[in-house]
Amino acid sequence: MKNGGKRFTAVHQSMTFSRRMLLAGGAQVAIGSLLIGRLGWLAVAENERYQLMSESNRVQLIIVPPRRGWIIDRYGKPIAINRSDFRIDLIPDQLEDVEQTLTTLARLLELTVDDVDRILKELKAARGYQPVQVAENVPYEKYAAVTVRLPELPGVQPMRGFSRFYPDGAAVGHLVGYVGAASAEEYEKEQNPLLITPGFKIGKEGLEETLEQSLRGTPGGQRVELTARGKLVRELTPKPDRSGATVPLAIDSDLQEFAARRLGEESGSVVVLDCLTGDILALVSMPAYDPNSFSDGIGRSEWRMLSEDPRRPLLNKVLNSLYPPGSTIKPMGALALLEHGVEPEERIFCPGGYRLGNRFFRCLGRHGTVDMRRAIAKSCNTYFYAMGHRVGYDKIAPMAKRLGLGQKFDLPVVSQSYGTVPDSEWKERRYRTNRQLIERPDWTASDTLNASIGQGFLIINPLQLAVMGGRIASGRDIQPRLVGVGKKPAPLLDIPNEHLEIVRGGMWQVVNGDGTAGASRLPLPGIEMSGKTGTAQVRRITDGQRGQSGERRFRDHGLFVCYAPSVNPRYAASVVIEHGMGGSRAAAPVAKDVLTFLFDRAKAMESLAALEEQWGGTLAERTARQAAMIQAAAAARSAPA
């Protein structure tokens, strides 16, 4: 502006004022426009976002856990269902006197100090309207005691909940697993608020774990309008929950239960397949834990008893135990021999063993002259030593794989160990990775001899054994199925029917001729069973002691693979009895009863009843007795403390 010489006059002053007023007015209009623009931006452009935020302020969703889907068997019989129970929760915002309320609840519900500590900790972490669990599975009398005192217990919420129930108990333990509250890691992984909702359980093992997403369902919500301080204004229309889907299994739960009971006090497994479709009708591993007690939360002492048991009740032996198949793979070996040109009528003389260089490989007996069928029926090692040596194991191994040995099946299971079908390429590879186990990289003739009778490097699981039996029985490439019921028979395997008939003939003789399992014929007119026994060595045979006596843990395992009826087979099964000392002695009788059950339940139950009388009660009775024993032991342990 002008300065210095010129005087600042009233005229200048008035001009300046007008100019400045214009500037001030302009600034005011500018700020006004800015405010209107901002208002428009918030209310129009950002409207959707803020509306959402306002709604999430206003409405809170109290998660209502969905009911878990049922697991049923192939005929619709329930395997895992929900039973309603009573539970008590706390609503943190409605609590008035935390200490007073907890003292009353502790007295009414007989809560332990640990319980109260946990509740206090969870209350401190809880925000708003999310409930905190006080107790679940509350007996009706205690539930009623809390309910009548509700007026003096603001914030206490008695609820009806659901707990998982497995009618067959231990018989389905390994198959379905159990449920439990989600762990911190599981919540961390999924970040789903449903997981920390009181009373919500997720699958922890077995099918409950692998079918979790189908069984879970979608949570509903009780929608409530809350003030900023968490006060309930009103309840809005609830969002209904959707129960989890019912999952039908291929399992026949009656058969499953029978097989579990039939195993009795033994440690072992039974697998029954539909040998046309591959449906798994029974998948039993015993001894087993009772999933009902696991789902309520298991005590520490009970857990220790189970984990220290030498019969390993926590291990699913069908999928996670590997055994040398022993002689049960001889039918498979025979098929491989036929494929590579061995004439079934060719005879081999068995003098009680086979000499390879300066080593003598023993047979179980002196079988004289045997052809292929007879070698299967009598389980003659010499024949398979000689023929295996002639053909070479690299030509037998592909057949083993085609029949399911060493195969990992596409099943909804938590884990499966699939064992080894060895050949020269495998041995060389393993030699490079594990020199302690494998002494030399090249496949030797004695490796062939051992593998030919199902010993040595060859190890399989009981499910593979059953699949092998089923594939031989039907000649079809069955794949075991656990969920749903198979409708169509599996496609045929590329194995000539004449070959299969020869092997089936041998397996018929095992049971119905003068074979190794002659004592286990089906007690049914017109229905015959074919099979093959096997004995798996637990340790290397030393000085003639053949694992038939001595300490239990060194005794041989008994295996049996079978199918029935012998003509037009329908069912295939494998039975493994750990330390049962022999297939014909321990495993075949179990298989006989299990297959009998499929054709004549009454007769099977009759023989089971006789056995259970010897063992001291049914499986359920024995499980209950054992649970009582464990509790008594736990009580005795904690009493002095």
Partner: protein, 370 residues
Amino acid sequence: MISSAIIPQPLAKLPWRLIFLVAGIAAVGILTLYSAAGGSMRPWALRQGTTILFFLCVAVAMSWIRESTIKSLSFPVYALILVLLILVEMLGFVTKGAQRWLDIGFIRLQPSEFMKPAIVLVLARFFELLPAGDIRKWRAIWPAALLIGVPAGLILVQPDLGTCTMVVLGGLTVMFVAGVPMRLFVGGATALAIAGPIAFSMMHDYQRKRVFTFLDPESDPLGAGYHISQSKIAIGSGGIFGKGFLNGSQSHLDYLPEGHTDFAFAAMVEEWGLLGGLLVILAFGAVIRWGMMVSARSKSRFAQLAAAGLSATIFFYVSINLMMVMGLAPVVGIPLPLVSFGGSAVMTVMLCLGLLMALERQQRTTSKLA
């Protein structure tokens, strides 16, 4: 102005357009308070209505005060309020607590409120007395700075940052229109722009956090940013037409804090939408424009400066509150006059309007005489 034979002259000569605008804004405010109380005249709406009515009457009565009276009272009143401010400060010192008011029996007198119009009047008077040639001289600036600085300092230590800001801005506006050299304002603004970052770099962590919270309230939605976040949610969720009268969930469920006082605008927009907000802003704009026109039409320098300053005071009231509510300014605790519950803002604005009406009446009468 309504000119009709039936209506008596004194009534017809009142600035009715202004009174209707004020009444309209007040009506919106009272309805908002009625809704904020959950659909009840108590505890806020009725009291607010009475207060507004009373002070509107005071304002209308003030319109008969002559400009010369206002002029001659400017310095004494300013001095009196300054004394009261010091008294409040001493009282606070004695009772060992922050104190902003003097309790004189029937009313709690908050001297800093009166300072808002008083600073405008005293500066207008000062610049009127200043010879025209001196406006660019140092002697034009230091007394004005002192007149603003002393009360501003006293209010700041109360502490009341909001009122202090208003007093300073009101005073600066008078200086600006009076013609104090532009370079002072430009320089001052530049200095502030430079000092800001430097001050920020010297701040403590907790102070910086406050700045960040203002810049991005969502970063701390449950802490210091809660007010701004919830206010923006209330305004944004209203949309164009609002959620409807008595249906604002943010204010009714207490998510919006201070929904009846500082954040009344947010509560109103939530229910009335963009349209309601626009209407209120435009109504205030019309009131301020009326005041600016009074200033522009004034013949005397005092009336020019005083009218501009008083309009600016109302403008700062409204704009600072709206900026704060919409997340454009930090939360400083300035209510929206006539809408927010509280008597002091109503009183101040009505005092300003009363003085403006007096100046306007003077224009008309002088122009008639001339």
